[in-house]
């Protein structure tokens, strides 16, 4: 293509080839720019967060992570209460959301297979849960779930099991527990959708081998399917965790927004994302803004780590099948 044409026929071919080549090059250049833009955006995000949390990073260093006081008036910033709140609510969300999400996945992939109508309908309903905006969960949580949980769940737990530190303080409604429950509802679709795909990727030979040994349906699921899918399900769980960690609006609306470290689930708390949402527009001096950006940076780091871990797990499980999260 690159060498000079020797005959007229050669010239014609070469010219038309060049025309094709140019069109191809233009297309490739255009779409490559878009692909580069994606990379640039993520890198830019990381770089901007680091440079703009510079003030806080250099003033507090590592003590930012261990400090328990968040006092903008006296310019003291410690992020531990928020980190604590994020971890407590996310773990609680997983504790509730994982069994339920996994149950739904087992139902969709093992029980409802071939039963189109109700399997499809229920699958769609659960997927729709993922489409409901976060702020709607918050609104519903605030007006519907808070009073109900306070009266019917937290109240009895506190009066009967009040000696357990987890349930020690007087139920308030706007607390870690409610936030955890709302988050659990929000991550169920993630866990169930990913786990369903994982379970579908388990080779049928695994199931058939167990059946041929005379196992019941449930034994097949428990002894052949779930162990095989273990690492993928772990990945789905971590992905759900990632979603819970970054969730902002719903948590902000139901957690009470008080920076506190306590063993009691019935006490008000605060999370990393919630403090950014509440205080960012009110931050009145550079160090304050910088401290909030650093909280964003912590969130960025957490989300990145969790995501990489989840992807690694799921990739190991499904590398042989055409599947992607």
């Amino acid at each position: 293509m690159s060498k000079e044409p020797k005959t007229m026929a050669d010239g014609l071919t070469s010219a038309s080839m060049r025309r094709k080549l140019n069109g191809d090059l233009i297309l490739k250049a255009l779409v490559a720019c878009a692909a580069i833009a994606v990379v640039a955006l993520l890198l830019g995000l990381g770089i901007e967060l680091i440079t703009h949390s510079d003030l806080s990073l250099s003033k507090f260093g590592l003590s930012f992570l261990t400090g328990t006081t968040w006092d903008p008036v006296h310019e003291i910033f410690g992020a531990l209460p928020f980190l604590f709140g994020t971890i407590v609510t996310s773990v609680l969300a997983l504790a509730i959301g994982l069994p339920v999400g996994l149950g739904v996945a087992i139902f969709l992939s093992e029980k409802a297979k071939g039963k189109r109508v109700y399997g499809y309908t229920l699958g769609t309903l659960v997927e729709l849960l993922a489409a409901v905006p976060s702020v709607i969960y918050g609104l519903w949580g605030l007006f519907f779930l808070v009073p109900i949980l306070k009266t019917y769940v937290e109240g009895p737990l506190h009066s009967y099991l009040g000696f357990v530190p987890l349930f020690a303080s007087t139920p308030f409604g706007l607390d870690f527990f409610t936030a955890g429950v709302v988050l659990a509802i929000m991550i169920i679709p993630t866990i169930s959708a990913v786990s369903r795909d994982i379970l579908n990727a388990v080779p049928n030979s695994q199931r058939e081998a167990m059946y041929s040994l005379g196992a019941t349906h449930w034994e097949v699921i428990r002894k052949a399917v779930l162990p095989y899918a273990r690492s993928g399900i772990f990945g789905a769980t971590i992905l759900g965790l990632g979603r819970a960690v970054g969730e902002t609006m719903a948590v902000t609306m139901v957690i009470g927004n008080t920076p506190r470290i306590t063993a009691s689930l019935f006490s008000g708390g605060y999370t990393l994302a919630a403090v950014i949402a509440n205080e960012f527009t009110e931050a009145s001096y550079p160090l304050y803004v910088s401290a909030l950006v650093e909280i964003g940076l912590i969130l960025f780091g957490l989300a990145l780590t969790i995501n990489l871990l989840a992807r690694l797990m799921i990739w190991r499980m499904t590398k042989n099948t055409r599947f992607r999260v």
Binding site: L27, L42, F107, I136, I188, G246
Partner: protein, 272 residues
């Protein structure tokens, strides 16, 4: 044990029924034509509406779509047409990561690069923030829907002497267009409901859009948030009305995508 599995399904579905039911009951009583078109009114003055928020959301999401579709579709084409390249590997990986990112960090990012430079909260910055939410969804669904276009179609086109770029645009994209449309619609649905990235970009406003993209603008989810946590029953009621509009929009968009385009793209999940 089967009982437990059914119980899990019930536990997962009940909240959806409760949420939608609650939104319809509480919000239904608010709905009227004037509610959908009026400006919000101060506490104690009856007849307020959410007209500016609906208008604002439409404008920001429109802007976001204009930004996100070219970048998302372009990146998706690159991922599916040149899957072996190193750029494809890195970029599609980062795209996956970005899709799962806490949306509030995207808000901070846009605040830093746009709001700090222009020194004002603005419709533009809100649009860019939502575009960052949409790009990964559009890119991923584009890639997925182009990849399932049969190789034989490409080969037939190339064999006729049609250059590759024309093959991609006329054959591959046009065959995969329903998947592309799905991705774009779902990303619009997702962006319309996003609140966190708008808190310090679009910021909210109590007026109609005044024609200046460089000034703060109202948005439906922002209004639901501020009115929902306000202590005034009148505002809380308005929040429920707005919630009904938002949930209705999301569900209609999601269900119609599912019903019209069918199960073919069910693997490309709504929440990505």
């Amino acid at each position: 044990m089967t009982g437990l599995v059914y119980a899990a399904v019930a536990v997962a579905v009940v909240p959806l029924v409760l949420i939608v039911g609650d939104v319809v009951i509480q919000g239904g009583s608010q709905l009227s034509l004037s509610f959908l078109t009026n400006l919000p009114r101060p506490v104690g003055v009856p007849g307020g509406g959410i007209g500016n928020a609906i208008e604002g959301s439409a404008i920001i999401v429109g802007l976001a779509t204009l930004i996100a579709v070219p970048i998302g579709v372009g990146a998706g084409i690159y991922f599916s047409e040149w899957p072996e390249s190193r750029l494809s590997f890195i970029s599609s990986f980062m795209n996956d990561v970005m899709a799962e990112f806490p949306s509030i960090t995207l808000g901070i990012f846009v605040y830093i690069i746009i709001v700090l430079t222009t020194r004002t909260f603005s419709a533009i910055s809100g649009g860019v923030a939502l575009a960052l939410i949409m790009i990964p969804i559009v890119a991923r669904t584009t890639e997925e829907s182009l990849k399932i276009v049969p190789v034989s179609l490409r080969e037939a086109s190339l064999a006729l002497g049609i250059p590759r770029w024309k093959t991609v645009i006329r054959i591959v994209i046009s065959t995969g267009r329903s998947g592309l449309a799905t991705g774009i619609l779902l990303s619009i649905a997702r962006a319309t409901g996003e609140t966190a990235p708008l808190l310090f970009t679009a910021f909210g406003s109590s007026y109609y859009f005044g024609g200046n993209l460089n000034s703060p603008i109202a948005a439906l989810p922002l209004l639901i948030y501020t009115y929902g946590i306000s202590p005034f029953p009148q505002w809380q009621a308005a929040a429920w009305g707005a919630a009904l509009v938002l949930v209705g929009f999301m569900l209609i968009l999601n269900l119609s995508v599912k019903l019209l385009i069918g199960r073919k793209f069910a693997g490309v999940r709504a929440e990505i």
